[in-house]
Assembly symmetry: C2
Homo-oligomer: 201 residues x 2
DNA sequence: TTATATTTGCTAACAGTGTTAACTTAACCA
DNA sequence: TGGTTAAGTTAACACTGTTAGCAAATATAA
């Protein structure tokens, strides 16, 4: 029975082509301009076929959210594993996080900007959990070598992520004015302050 | 010639009633759900009258952005003036910023979420300048009493704002889980780290 | 092979959105 | 009172997400 398998394969390809067309649209005109009709036009099918592959537009966005989370998670994990010292890990992750945000603006804006994921959803997206796990484990490592081991682990993780997200989102609003090195200095400044207060205190 | 004056006054009142109706809409259903037609319905006029008072929907949002910025600026200035020591000022401002964001979610989301103001616009909105001025002056004060006076002023301001915005926006995504005191601890943690690295270094 | 059932994809519509052209009516002024 | 301007209306345009209903192609069963 190869027919059923072929059908499944074709359906999968169709689904992928929808996402591909959507992604192209996003790359050229941004998230705001993405519409079901434009996707349908691009793949040269009528609108309702898209709804037979995705429940609604949000489901398509969710797909990209997952993709982005997993990409970031993998990237952070890779970078983290290059270092043994917790402080170096936190610094490397911060740099990688920053780079990802600006190299993949579209993903980042969806993940932390448009999506506005409700907490329930955040916990249900396993790819997002993967991402936070990498950061959390680095924080854990840092606390384990810290002089004061009684610090609130979750609080520190939260602070770490907030600093990163704050820096990125404020920088993203600004149009590209300052050179890249200067931007990185801001990141360096904030993160080194955080790491010092975490480990040396 | 009181007629012309009355007309101007009436036009002003009309404009205000549009904003009032819009604000009510936002308070009940959020920014995403605000529409010109709903405003028109609320003030019991037809749609085009709104366009004779505002160029477009964005102009209405801009009005609220300005309002929010000025409210925040005033609030921060008030709080700042209660302290003389720069470190205390920075801490108080951070607390006030945080409180404002959650007490006036609608304003904050517009100012730093939806608006996505281009840099040109940001510089042209005087109310936004007022707001940044308060924070910048507090940073300046802090540097003047710091041991190392050669730190990059703009870099430090940027870091300060980023930490605040990051904390707030990450917290806003989460649904109200943790109690308010715990949230404030995160703020306290991050800001105290920043202040120490700014002044005591 | 033919008849039935199912899947596939389409058109067309519904209920919204921002925005504007064209028209009517009311208010004003000479 | 007649002519001009301003105010406010209806109705449309061009979009958006979403779905009901129908036609054609395909697969299954007799």
């Amino acid at each position: 029975m190869g027919i059923a398998e072929r059908k499944i394969r074709q359906k999968e390809e169709f689904r992928a082509s929808i996402l591909e067309a959507a992604w192209l649209q996003v790359l050229t005109d941004g998230w705001q301009s993405l519409s079901i009709r434009k996707i349908a036009d691009a793949i040269e099918y009528s609108v309702p076929v898209i709804y037979s592959h995705f429940e609604n537009k949000e489901a398509i966005l969710l797909e990209f959210t997952k993709e982005g989370c997993q990409k970031l998670a993998d990237h952070l994990q890779l970078v983290k594993d290059k270092h043994i010292e917790p402080a170096a890990q936190l610094e490397a992750i911060a740099n990688a996080y920053w780079d990802f945000a600006f190299e993949h603006k579209e993903y980042y804006q969806l993940m932390f900007g448009l999506g506005i994921p409700a907490c329930e959803q955040v916990n249900s997206i396993s790819e997002m959990k993967n991402m936070t796990m990498v950061m959390m484990s680095a924080i854990k490592n840092a606390i384990s070598v810290s002089k004061n081991k009684d610090v609130d682990f979750f609080l520190k993780y939260h602070t770490y992520l907030s600093i990163l997200h704050g820096l990125v989102s404020i920088e993203m609003i600004q149009k590209e004015g300052k050179p890249a090195e200067h931007k990185k200095m801001i990141l360096q400044d904030a993160i080194s302050g955080f790491i010092q207060s975490l480990i040396l205190k």
